[in-house]
Symmetry: C2
Subunit: 521 residues, 2 copies
Amino acid sequence: MIPLNENLVRNFTYIENLAVLEHDFHKNKIPAEDPFDPEQFKSTADLVNSLLKNHLANTKTRGLKLTDPTILLEKAMKLMGSESSTVAKFDAKKLESILELYMSTGIPVQSTGYMGRQFSSPLPLSGITDFVSSIINQPSSFYEAAQLPNVVEQIVADKFYNLIGWNNHDPAMVTTSGGSLANMTAILAARNNAFPEIWKKGVMGIDKNLLPAIAVSEDVHYSITRAVGILGIGEDQVIKLPTNKKKQICINQVETVLDEAAAKGLKVFCLVASAGSTSIGAIDPINELGDITRKRNIWLHVDGAHGGGFLMSNKLKHKLNGIHKVDSFIIDAHKMLFVPGTCTLLFYKDKQKAKGAFQQKASYVFEKNEDIYTKYDSAEKNFECTKRPMIMNLWVPWAMYGKSVYSNKLEYLYQLTQKAYRTILIQKDFIAHHQPESNIFCFSYIPENLPKILNFDFQLAIRNVLKEEGKFFISKVEIDGNTVLRVVFMNHNIKIEKFEQLLDEIRNIGQKIIKNWTKNN
Amino acid sequence: MIPLNENLVRNFTYIENLAVLEHDFHKNKIPAEDPFDPEQFKSTADLVNSLLKNHLANTKTRGLKLTDPTILLEKAMKLMGSESSTVAKFDAKKLESILELYMSTGIPVQSTGYMGRQFSSPLPLSGITDFVSSIINQPSSFYEAAQLPNVVEQIVADKFYNLIGWNNHDPAMVTTSGGSLANMTAILAARNNAFPEIWKKGVMGIDKNLLPAIAVSEDVHYSITRAVGILGIGEDQVIKLPTNKKKQICINQVETVLDEAAAKGLKVFCLVASAGSTSIGAIDPINELGDITRKRNIWLHVDGAHGGGFLMSNKLKHKLNGIHKVDSFIIDAHKMLFVPGTCTLLFYKDKQKAKGAFQQKASYVFEKNEDIYTKYDSAEKNFECTKRPMIMNLWVPWAMYGKSVYSNKLEYLYQLTQKAYRTILIQKDFIAHHQPESNIFCFSYIPENLPKILNFDFQLAIRNVLKEEGKFFISKVEIDGNTVLRVVFMNHNIKIEKFEQLLDEIRNIGQKIIKNWTKNN
C-alpha cells in the first residue's frame, strides 16, 4: 500500500518566483530557411553526398599535406566569420568551402599512397549507416531508446561466440567507445573479480600483503598501463613480460616472472596479451598463456584491437589460436573491420563477470525489475550512459553483403603484407625487421653506401622527407631503440607495385640525404 | 652520433617460414558491384537522404512503440539472411527494409509527442557534418590525423573561455566521448593533483591517515559515484551533501559535512556539483560552492552535462553564476546543444592540471619533442587513443548559422518549460514538484477523487499506460521516494497546447485507472 504523500504535495505547490515567468524573451522566430527544415536537410545532404563521392573517387597516390596550424586556424576563423545575433541564412557555398577544407587537410585514407596508420577509408555502407544513427539519434545503453541496435548486439555477439568457439547461449558482449575504454573495462572487471571489496572500500581497503598487480608485454599498448594508473593500482605494479625477437611475449619466461612477482608480495590478478601489437602487429602466444593463467587463476585479457578481426576469416583465424581460453578480449571494428571510428567489441567468457566491471545501481536509469525489455539494456555493463548505436555500422554491411565483405579485404591485406615482406627480402639495400603477422610491416633502408656513423637518425630523416613530399604516407616506430619504417596496409586498392614504388621513392630520398651529408662532412 | 645497429640488421633478415607466403589464398575478386565503389556510395547515400528526410518530416504526435525483443530479433535475423561465402550483390530494397525497421523502432525524437529524455532530434547540419567525419575517418587525438578538427577545438575553446569569463589565452578544453568519460577524467585530474604519487604508487601508496574522498550531491549522476569505484577510491569514500527542496546542494550544510569528513580522517579532494541534475534539472549554487572549495583547497568540478549549454545564451547564462570559480566542468553538446551523441566538452581552469589526468608517455604515439604540429595533439589530455572529431558537429553549424542557432532553441525550450510550470499551477488536479530551472519539469496528477490508499503506484501506472498507448513519450523519476511524472522539452516544435493535450491524456488515463480500481476494490 502506497499512501499519498500529502506533505510532498503541499511543499511543492507554492510559487517561488513568478517574476521569472514573465521574463521578456524575444519571440524566437524561425528564419526563412529553417535549420531544422527537412527540405533544407535533404538539399544539404545531397550536396554533401556529391562532395564525398568525389572525395572517395580521388584515389590517386598521395600522402598527407601537413599545414601550419596557425595558418589553418586563420582560415577556419575567416570562414566562420563574426557572430551575429540572429540565425544566419544558409550559405551552400560557405559550407562547401568548410567541408573542402576539412576533407583536403585530412589524411587521404582512400589514396593508394596511404600506408601509415591503423584506420582506413571505411566501408561506405558502414559510414552511411552511421549517418542514419547521427540523424535519428538513439543512444543505445537502453533497449527502450534503441531497440534494433540492442537486438543486433545479440545477433553479432552470437556470431562471434561461434567464431571464438564459446558455445555459450547467453553471450556477454559489450560495445563501447574505443579500445582504451574496452581495455579499461575488462581490467576493471578483472580487478573487481579478484578483489570483491575494492569497489566499495577502495584499493586502500585491501590486504597490504597482497598488492594488486598486472602483467603485460614489454610492448603493450599505452592504454593498458594507462588503465593501471587510472584504476588506482599504480604503474609501479605493472609487471613487464619480456618479448622475443618477434616481439611476442616470451612464453618460457612468463612463469618465472610471475613467480618473482608473487615472491615480492604482488598478486597478479590479470595478464594482458596482444593480438596485433601496435608497433609491429605481433600476436602473443594466446594458447600457451591461456594454460598458464588458468593454472594460476589469473584473468587473461587479450587486446585484439588490431588483429581480433582475423576471427572473421576462416583463413586467418588460426592466428588467434587459443582465443577460447581467454577471460576477455576486444576487437576494434574501426580498425580491421573497416567501420568508422569508434566501434569496439568487448567479449567476456563468463556473463556474470561482465556485470562485475561496474557494481552499482542508479534508480532513475536502471530499472529495478528486469523485464523482457530491460533484459537487453547494456548500461550496467558498459561505461557510457549515452552511447552511440555503433553496432549498426558493423551489422548493416554484414547483413547486406555477408561476412565476406570483411574477410575478403582482410585476406587481401594480409597477403599484400606478406608480398611486401618477400619484396624486401630480395632487395639488397633493405632489411625486414620481422615476418609480418598481420598487415603491419617494419623495415629499414640500409644501402651499401650508408656511412657507418651519422649524426642523425637516417630512417627518421627518410620518413620526414617522405612525409613532406606528400606522395606516400607511412609511419615509423622504435624497435629496440632504433627508428624503423612502418607500413600498415589498410587500403585494398594498393597493389604490390605501389609498394615497390614506395621503395624507389625511399631510395631516391635516402641517396639524396647521403649525398648531402657526405658533401657537408 | 647514432651508430648503425649491425646486430639488429642481421637478426631480422632471416626467413622464418617462407611456406606461409605461398599459402594459396583465393583471388579476392571485387564483385560486380563493389561495396567500395564511389558511384555505389552515392546512389545508396542519396536513397538514405530521402528516407531520412521523410523521417524528419514526420513530426506527428506520437510516442514510442515498444516491440518485444524476441520478435524484433527474429525480424532482424530474417532480414540478415544466411551467410554466403561470397560478397552478396547490393540489394537496395533490403537496405530500405533494414533502415525502415531501424527508424521505426527508435524513440521518435522529432515528434511533438516526444517529451521524455535528454537527447533530441539533432540539428540536421550537425548530423550531416558527422556523416562527413564517418566517411573521411580522421581520428582526432593527433593534429596530424585531423588537422581542421584540432584547430577548431582551439576556436571553440576560445569562445567558451570568453563565455565563462576565463581570460586565459591558452585554454585547456578537451573533447571526449560522453559525459561519464569527461566526469571521470576531471575527477582523475583532481585525484592526481591532490595525490601526486598515486599514478605510480597506486591508492595503497598514500598516507593511511588521509584517505581520499569526494563530496557529491545526494542527487548526483551515477557516473560520478561510478568514477569513484573505478578510480580505486571506493564508494564508501563518497560523502553525500544534503539537498534542499529544490534538490540543490544545501549550501549552509556543506561546511559542516566537510568538517565531519575531515574529522574522520578523510581528505576530500574534490567536490562535484551539478548544473542541471538528471532527475529534475536542478542547478547547484556554484558561486557559493566556489568560495567554499577555494578556501579549503578542494577541486570543484561541475557536471554541466545537461545545463552547461546555457552558457551559449546571454539570457540564460546567469543560471551558471560563479562558473568562473570552478576548476573543471563539462558540457554534453549532445544534450542541450543538439548535436548527435556523443560530444562532450571538458574545461579546465588551469592548463597544467589538464595534463595531470593521464601521466604517462608512450614513444610510438606521443612525440618526444613538441613542434608546431604536436602542440595541438590532445592524446595526452584525453582518454581515447582513437577519438572521433566530434567538435566538428558543434562548430560547423556554429560557423554556418551563428551561436543563435543554439541559443534561440535553448531559450525557447526554457520558456516553454516555464509555461508548462505555470499551466500546472493553475490546474486543480495537478501539482508541480519544483519550479523548473532548465527544461526538465516534474509533476503529478492528483485528482480530487484519487483514493487515499492504493495498492499500486498511481503515477507510475499512468506513465506505463501512456507509454503503451504510444501517443506521448514522457519519463518518470523518483523524488523523495515517490514516483513522479517527468517531461524534458528537447523539441522546439512543441507548443504549450501540446503539453495541455498531454495533461488531458493523463486525466483520461488516470480516471480510467481509478474507475477500474474502484470497481475491483
